[in-house]
Amino acid sequence: MSSVAHRRPFHLAAMSTAFVLFWLVLAAFPYVWTVWGSFKVESDFFSRETWQNAVFGVKTIQQTGSAFTGDGYYGAWVESQFWRSVINTAIVATCVTTISLTLGTLGGYALSRSVHRYKFWILIVALVFRAMPDITLVSGYLLPFFQLNIWGYLPTTIIVLVALNQPFTLWMLYSFFVNIPKELDESALVDGCSRFQAFRLAVMPVMWPGVITTGLFSFLLGYNDFAVTSMLLTQENQTMIPKISSFLFKIQSEGHVMYAVAAVVSATAPLFVLIMFFQRQLVAGLTAGAVKG
């Protein structure tokens, strides 16, 4: 893209740079602001007088002697026992990602190599399933789960989330596997491999870009879910997101909003790290497979 023909006129380059900067501020400022504010006291973060209080921490210095305070974090993690939900979220998100990908790669691979008519119907039905709002299905789970006595446990929630995630995983991985040449595993079959061996030895080594992209979306689903986790888990098994929503009301009446702010920032931090490491793979994976389907 360095030839003269591809060079952009100056005003166009300037305009797009300006627009990108504007968008960056729009996208990032709320988070930057909240991360910064989470180390202040409430009267600074929610300052009626001037926003400069939140920047310089005037009241924070008055109340704690330093411009930064970890009180919100102490209150959230220790007093409100937020660490429990962090562990639960880690379990749920990891399990959902692993199981979804295992089932999804097998299924997606089979769909991509099948030539029968029913493959088409499976994909369309999966698409319809993807359209069902989570909360409508949750209202179908509750009564049976109470009866079977499996309500409130982490494994139940994990399986439910895996199932809800299957349609999307199947589609993503299907469109990815379709773009992996058939000859690769067919030659392995000719060499005497079974179908599973062909999958393991010929396809698995080249499938990782697509799997990482799909895994990223699965992880986000498990990590970010609110509808399922808030309805299907007991108080002590709660993951971070329902925990934040449930102690929001309690905390506001007690005047500890900063606990919630600190909890929110804690819950966002892992996502920042995740995207920082995987954004390149995300674009690469989408380019290689999903966006062609």
Binding site: P30, M132, D134, I135, Q166
Partner: protein, 343 residues
């Protein structure tokens, strides 16, 4: 691939979907036809030696508990729950339509019915947020594609934030900022010089806030998909368009847009599905007084303080699913047809 092998590979995935997506759909249809048992009342007569006899009715809580435990589904109610005030409300609609009132009053009275209120907001939200967010995402993708290579990494990182951050958390973060004491809320009051102006005060303001928030969180998904798509636009087509003298705008219109069209269908489908289930922003923004969605109605029915209203939640769920299917059928058929051609 032979049927047997195919089945062996895909069975776990199919079983998971059948058990936890197909069965619950059946389950809510059944649940919506039943209603919780009424409280069992007992009549008892207490006679005092001199005062005569007093008849009283009281709730036999033990027997009520027992029958509710034995038959958790409740008693058969047919389509009763669909017709009541909280759902389709045929009776109320009949009354309103035949009432002696002006057109706008009728509309506003219809809007007061809980189900229609939620439906109107859900549809408005899904149908405005989806196209606007896609346009914004497309423009961002074009712009990011044009910036120098070395800043692309950080730009993509920050652009993805509104999408990857949990919806509930994202809405809380914005909610705290537009609070009267938060930076944006205070700034708006300062600029307009109106200390009472609040984004939560009137329904219109709440709707605009929610829709802006929706565009903000949805744009990154369109952006990343379109941006990935832009990397696959064939450069020889682009060059021949340039040789033919196509202007920059014409190149976008006649080369880039057609290449990205299949992607646009995919994004529309996913975004419509996601926006139709809008729930977290309403909780995060504490906006239920001015805007409720179908998902939110189900959520509140399930979270009811006194008793979980299973049949009400189930009925709203069935109606929601019907709505989703009606909304998506055209796009689904299109996808299915396109897909059928290719295989």
């Amino acid at each position: 691939m032979p049927h047997r092998t195919f089945l062996a590979f895909i069975l776990p995935s199919i079983v998971a979907m059948l058990l936890f997506i197909a069965t619950p759909i059946v389950s809510i249809v059944v649940q919506s036809l039943y209603i919780q048992h009424d409280k069992i009342l007992v009549m008892s007569e207490t006679c005092q030696p001199l005062g005569g006899c007093v008849k009283e009715t009281r709730v036999d809580s033990e027997a009520t508990e027992k029958i509710r435990r034995e038959q958790p589904l409740g008693k058969f109610n047919g389509f009763g729950i669909y017709e009541d005030h909280n759902h389709l409300a045929f009776l109320d609609i009949g009354n309103i339509v035949s009432a002696n009132a002006g057109f706008f009053e009728k509309v506003s009275r219809l809007y007061d019915l809980p189900f229609y209120r939620a439906l109107v907001f859900t549809l408005t939200y899904a149908l405005t947020v989806t196209p606007l967010a896609m346009c914004l995402g497309f423009v961002i993708a074009l712009a990011v594609n044009a910036v120098p290579k070395f800043i692309k990494g950080p730009v993509i990182f920050f652009s993805l934030l509104p999408m990857v951050v949990t919806p509930l958390i994202g809405s809380l973060v914005v909610f705290w900022m537009i609070n009267a004491e938060g930076i944006l809320g205070a700034a708006i009051q300062h600029i307009t010089n109106n200390p009472d102006l609040s984004l939560k005060a009137s329904p219109t303001m709440t709707w605009i806030t929610l829709i802006c928030y929706g565009i903000w969180t949805n744009a990154p998904f369109s952006f990343i998909v379109f941006y990935s798509g832009l990397q696959t636009v064939p450069s020889d087509t682009m060059e021949s368009a340039m040789i033919d003298g196509a202007s920059r705008f014409q190149r976008v219109r006649f080369v880039i847009l057609p290449t990205l069209l299949p992607l646009a269908v995919f994004v529309t489908l996913v975004q419509l599905m996601d926006n139709f289930r809008v729930l977290e922003p309403i909780i995060g923004f504490n906006a239920a007084a001015n805007a409720t969605s179908l998902s939110y109605s189900i959520y509140t029915a399930l979270n009811n303080q006194s008793a979980q209203l299973f049949s009400s939640a189930a009925a709203t769920s069935v109606l929601t699913i019907t709505g989703v299917i009606i909304l998506l059928t055209p796009i689904l058929i299109r996808t299915a047809r396109e897909f059928g051609f290719r295989t």
